[in-house]
């Protein structure tokens, strides 16, 4: 006999309805993450790598294949907590494909002569006797894989979270492994650990803003579900101060993740300090996940307050584009330069978000996909350009690289042109569709600022090409290591997609416009 019933308390209870078919990709990834932890715990060191790679790629491909079988699904499930709709499926698919490329970069073991890109034992103090011993023994660890799988699961959940509390959980599941991954670089240990600590402290701080905002919005709407918040906003249009403050705080948390000014300070340090493979993976996928959540919150929950958030987002978008583009000019480290470039790109995508129209959403989705492939390819090249001390990220070492290794130089030039938005590359189509959508929504002045920022940004992208091709290679010019099949595939995929999306964008443009809107 039930205890509550025994003392006379009747609690109505209905079983939650969960559409397991629609959330199967997420379940596959989480299950694989758990198995991956067990592999780390139980199997001998030597056999782990093969099995981990099998699990990781198996899970990513299986989840991706499942998404292809549910492309028509538009459903809100798990008692309103998860929304599987067109944009969510497109972003989940893009995240999974980019995660496969990121995993390929992380699996590389031919570039670094001492093994892979990850520390022999990340917990050892940098420069200590312990660390030297672990490195001398040639330890190669595979603990990055469970972390990687959990980060990907978090992202896949983040873009489809329809409840602010679940969104917070997804945010943490995505972020915590990334904080750790950022601190695992084999070389420049101090820089890497500094990156991890900064990312963790600032990330935890921004998560606190997010959850405080959720509390205030709950105080206003008495619900954390996005459609319920929207319906309360239409029912009580007069008294929105709590909702306004709450929305602003939630946006702080989300804009931190997309690296928008003034919440961008962590980006250059983390991009520089993290292992290059992790930086590439993170730059491409976190951007998609964070923009997905940002757009869902703005459109589904706060669509009725559009005239309150548009001016704020205008200022943030303009600041993000200009600060990112201008500070990137003064960078001498290629990873830091790409970090500021990612800030500027976030500003351009925000232009599409502000348009708040079907065309703006489709443009932003296309831009995110194009940016992801280009970025992951660019970081693949950076991981290959080395000198005797490790990766040569200083721009002075890239002088003449294009003449020394014309093929890799040309591929990197392609990525730079795509990021600058030159026609016949994916970046141009992305910028064009975002800007066109913004003009159609009446944000002409914003687009004018964006075009000016693009021209400024083009300067530092083209400067890299000039440095690579119009300087004689000297003794300090870095050399390009020949990678194994892993990095080669990732690089080839990045370059191909960048080019194909520039010349034949129609299939992907149709895909993102057929994705419909977020369901409520």
């Amino acid at each position: 006999m039930n205890i509550l019933a025994a003392v006379g308390i009747e609690v109505p209870f209905t079983l939650p309805i969960v559409d397991y078919n629609a959330i199967a990709p997420l379940l596959i990834l989480l299950g694989a993450g758990v198995v991956s932890v067990l592999v780390e715990a139980m199997l001998p060191r030597g056999s782990r790598r093969f099995i981990q790679l099998f699990i990781v790629f198996g899970a990513l491909v299986a989840a991706l294949a499942w998404i292809f079988t549910i492309t028509g699904v538009r459903v809100i499930t798990a008692e309103g907590a998860i929304a599987i709709d067109g944009p969510a499926l497109v972003m989940q698919g893009a995240i999974l494909v980019l995660a496969i490329l990121g995993a390929l970069l992380m699996a590389e073991r031919s570039i670094d002569p001492s093994g892979d890109a990850f520390a022999a034992r990340a917990s050892a103090l940098p420069g200590s006797e312990d660390e030297k011993q672990f490195t001398a023994r040639g330890y190669l660890q595979t603990e990055v894989w469970p972390l990687f799988l959990f980060a990907v699961s978090g992202m896949v959940l983040f873009v489809s979270a329809n409840d602010l509390l679940l969104m917070f959980v997804a945010l943490e599941v995505m972020s915590l492994p990334l904080y750790l991954l950022a601190g695992m670089a084999r070389r420049r240990r101090l820089l890497s650990q500094e990156a991890a600590l900064k990312y963790f402290l600032l990330g935890a701080f921004s998560s606190a803003f997010f959850i405080y905002g959720v509390a205030l919005v709950y105080g206003y709407a008495a619900s954390t579900q996005l459609p319920a918040i929207a319906s309360v906003l239409t029912a009580k249009p007069g008294q929105t101060s709590l909702a306004l403050i709450g929305m602003a705080l939630i946006l702080v948390g989300l804009l931190f993740k997309v690296a928008a000014v003034p919440f961008h300070q962590w980006t250059p340090d983390v991009y520089q300090g993290a292992p290059t493979a992790v930086t590439g993976f993170m730059a491409a996928t976190v951007k998609i996940a964070a923009f997905g959540a940002l757009m869902r919150v703005l459109y589904v929950a706060f669509g009725g307050m559009r005239w309150d958030w548009v001016p704020m987002m205008w200022i943030i978008a303009i600041l993000t584009m200009l600060v990112g583009s201008i500070i990137a000019i003064s960078q001498s480290d290629i990873k830091r330069m790409l970090a500021y470039s990612s800030i500027a790109q976030a500003g351009f995508i925000l232009v599409g978000v502000i348009a708040a129209s079907p065309a703006g959403l489709a443009g932003a989705l296309f831009y995110l996909i194009a940016y992801g492939f280009t970025t992951i390819g660019a970081f693949a090249v950076i991981s290959m350009v080395r000198d005797e001390s490790g990766e040569a990220t200083n721009l002075s070492k890239w002088a003449g690289l294009g003449r020394k290794s014309p093929f890799v130089g040309s591929v990197f030039a392609l990525f730079m042109l795509a990021l600058a938005g030159i026609p016949l590359t994916s970046g141009f189509i992305g910028k064009f569709s975002v800007f066109a959508a913004a003009i159609a929504s009446g944000d002409t002045w914003l687009v004018i600022v964006a075009v000016v920022a693009s021209i400024i940004a083009a300067f530092f992208y083209v400067r890299v090409i000039v440095v690579m091709f119009f300087t004689e290679p000297g003794p300090q010019t870095a050399s390009v290591e020949v990678p194994s099949v892993f990095t080669t595939i990732a690089l080839a995929a990045g370059a191909t997609v960048t080019l194909v999306l520039g010349i034949l964008p129609q299939p992907v443009l149709e895909l993102v416009s057929n994705a419909d809107l977020f369901i409520r």
Binding site: I3, A6, L15, V34, L38
Partner: protein, 119 residues
């Protein structure tokens, strides 16, 4: 009175379990004298006098504290289920099993990585 019978039974069970545990430990456990065992229990370190420089804690405490929280939270989630397990039916049972197995994976990982050994 009938309503309070389960609570009474629960109290008797809890008391019996405590008596059994203490008695079993007294009869079966080894008895080795250690002065530290007779000190006031304060999380492993001497509370007074304050060590010079504020005192530095081994990072191992962090691991123990984290583990404690993991299993503490597991119990927190077990309670509501224990109260309403018959209404949650087979769905609740499966969900709880999945939850407990995932926490068990954490336990297996920590155990295999020698997180439970102090030295």
């Amino acid at each position: 009175m009938n309503v309070y019978t389960p609570i009474l039974v629960l109290g008797i069970l809890a008391f019996a379990f405590a008596v059994f545990s203490v008695a079993a430990a007294t009869f079966t456990g080894p008895k080795r004298y250690n002065r530290a065992k007779y000190d006031a229990y304060e999380c492993g370190i001497e509370p007074t006098p304050q060590p010079v420089g504020g005192g530095r804690f081994p990072v191992k405490y962090y691991l123990t504290a984290m583990l404690f929280i993991v299993f503490d939270i597991e119990i927190v989630f077990l309670y509501p289920w224990a109260v309403a397990f018959d209404r949650l039916a087979i769905f609740g049972l499966i969900e709880m099993l999945v939850f407990i197995i995932t926490v068990l994976v954490v336990y297996a990982y920590v155990w295999r990585r020698r997180g439970l050994e102090w030295d």
